[in-house]
């Protein structure tokens, strides 16, 4: 057994039993972050804060929400919105955060693509990040079912129908997922379970993996420079803070991180108090009705780009294109054949590739929102083909990239 002495303070008492000084060193004061970074490096913390906001607001909603097809709609739109003091706040915070979290995820993702932060030992950071994207998508979808409005019901119908695999007609699988022939009580209760338990646990585990994956390769920097963290850390600790290329995670880096978080939160609560409407679809304020289809069924804005890849094609080809779009980002570290881990601006053709991809995804998002007819339908088709084409040519343009 370890040797314990009479504690001189509460700090010492805890330190002997939990090693809190060592934990703080490893997690904060001697966890090194490069100096050469910008505000885009704060998106991870912004996401962590947004996830916490979702968790807290979700806990309060959970106390009044009823996962029953007869009472769910009223428990949200009457009980929470009108009876519970500040119930509206939790709902609007939850809805706005669920939408904004995807905006930040996309910024976080495109920052990584731009600076090549998925290369040279950082592949696991990228993969765990993409798994988080998948988990957040499942979380968003399952949460969207819960108010049991028209959009909840029909989005549930359409998305679960995707699992029939087009011409494969795997209707048995669809019925198994739903627990019924159509979305009904079994469907609502199981998606409730997924939304409040299984997927959040998965997300927490993946966040742990994502942070863990960062430990050994460390955070990338604006020039993709390979930093010898041990040498630079020694410089910092010896007092040469100006000469060192790194700073401590806490308090140095965190002070700036939280500054960005502060600005973000002002923007976030501005949306919550004055512009929450964008996160709540008007159609979903009608209770679910299995015998009446809404004129247009469209997903939330963050799924529109992949929805638009599904839409312009016939059922089977559309499903294949959709599946392609879901998995292809995961393979980025291997499809990019160039060893250069530098910003896209110094990578020749890849620079063009990056900006075309970004514009293409914004175009797909815009076209996913408008009805699929006339010129929009053509633009959508071209954008969907461009998306697939971009990924097909990526290995070739990066293979011949000049070594920087």
């Amino acid at each position: 057994m370890a040797h314990f002495t009479k504690a001189t303070s509460i700090h010492d008492w805890l330190n002997q039993r939990l090693g809190i000084d060592k934990v703080r060193r490893v997690m904060a004061t001697e966890y090194w972050i490069p100096k050469n970074i910008n505000f885009l490096w704060a998106m991870g913390m912004v996401l962590a804060i947004t996830f916490s906001i979702l968790l807290v607001s979700g806990i309060f909603l959970l106390m009044y929400y009823q996962p029953n097809i007869n009472t769910a709609f009223d428990s949200v739109n009457y009980t929470i919105m009108r009876e519970v003091d500040f119930g509206w706040l939790w709902r609007h915070v939850h809805a706005v955060a669920a939408s904004v979290v995807f905006l930040i995820i996309y910024i976080h993702m495109f920052t990584a693509i731009y600076y090549g932060s998925y290369k040279k030992g950082r592949e696991m950071i990228w993969i765990s990040g993409m798994l988080l994207f998948v988990a957040f998508s499942a979380e968003a979808f399952s949460g969207y079912m819960l108010p049991w409005g028209q959009m909840s019901y029909w989005a549930g119908m359409v998305i679960t129908n995707l699992f029939s695999g087009g011409s494969l007609h795997a209707d048995g699988l669809v019925e198994w997922i739903r627990g019924d022939y159509v979305p009904a009580q079994a469907f609502l209760t199981r998606f409730f379970m997924l939304h409040v338990l299984l997927i959040p646990i998965t997300i927490l585990g993946l966040i742990g993996l994502h942070f863990g994956a960062l430990r050994i390769p460390h955070v990338n920097n604006q020039d993709g420079e390979e930093i010898d963290f041990e040498v630079e850390a020694a410089k910092y600790k010896s007092g040469d803070k100006a000469g060192s290329k790194v700073i401590a995670f806490m308090n140095d880096f965190m002070s700036k991180d939280m500054m960005v978080v502060g600005i973000y939160l002002v923007f976030f609560f501005y949306l919550v108090f004055y512009h929450y409407g964008f996160a709540m679809d008007a159609v979903n304020f009608d209770p679910a009705d299995g015998l009446k289809t809404p004129t247009h069924i469209y997903p939330e804005w963050y799924f529109l780009w992949s929805y638009e890849i599904l839409r312009p094609f016939s059922t089977n080809i559309g499903l294949i294109a959709f599946a392609f779009a879901q998995v292809i980002f995961m393979l980025l570290p291997w499809l990019d054949r160039s060893p250069n881990a530098v910003p896209a601006s110094r990578r020749g053709l890849f620079k063009i590739w990056f900006w075309v991809l970004l514009v293409d995804m914004i175009t797909l998002t815009a076209m996913g929102k408008v009805p699929p007819s006339g010129i929009f339908s053509t633009i959508g088709l071209v954008a969907a083909l461009t998306f697939i084409g971009l990924w097909v040519i990526l290995p070739f343009i990066t293979m011949f990239e000049k070594k920087v």
Binding site: M157, W176, I177, R178, L291, T293, T295, P372
Partner: protein, 174 residues
């Protein structure tokens, strides 16, 4: 070495027990997600075919989905094409169109116009004739026929009778 051999054996023995347990739990988990017996047994709808009126569309409900029932008039029966005839359901001497009322394109519910004797899906403009056969794209196929069994003057939806099996085998419906 001897004790390592024993540990190895114990490890494998545990692995075997755990594997059996894991497979068993997966079976239980899969089955727990299956539709409940009450859901399955509610999957049958019996229709009295005497109550329908000529050329008047009635929407019944089967397994939570709308089912169109349309009693065809003598003129409609006379002008049926081969495709129409193959989908015709005859109960007690009367001819019926019975289909799942969801557009085969993206699952919207088409509306019936008794004057033009046709269905129009407002979502993407697909049309069907009075038998549910596509007359204008985008729907990829005619309206699906639900499994049915003719029982005297009654029609049981959810059970597969000989007439339905023929339709299914010949690819008239899915």
């Amino acid at each position: 070495m001897e004790s390592n051999g024993r540990r190895g054996f114990m490890g494998k023995a545990f692995g075997a027990v755990a594997a059996v347990g894991a497979v068993g739990s997966l079976v239980a988990m899969k089955k727990s997600w299956d539709p409940l017996p009450s859901v399955r047994s509610a999957g049958f709808t019996t229709l009295d075919m005497n109550v329908y009126k000529d050329n008047e569309l009635v929407t019944e409900k089967w397994r939570g989905k709308p089912v169109f029932v349309l009693k065809k008039t003598a003129e409609m029966v006379a002008k049926q094409t081969d495709a129409d005839k193959s989908r015709d359901i005859v109960v007690g001497g009367n001819h019926f169109m019975v289909s799942i009322g969801l557009c085969t394109h993206l699952g919207c519910i088409p509306g019936y116009n008794p004057k033009s004797e046709s269905f129009l899906c407002a979502c993407h403009g697909g049309t069907y004739d009075f038998s549910g056969v596509v007359t204008k794209a985008p729907p990829p196929r005619a309206l699906d026929v639900p499994p049915f069994k003719i029982n005297g003057n009654m029609l049981v939806l959810g059970e597969e009778g000989p007439e339905y099996k023929i339709m299914k085998e010949t690819g008239i419906t899915l």
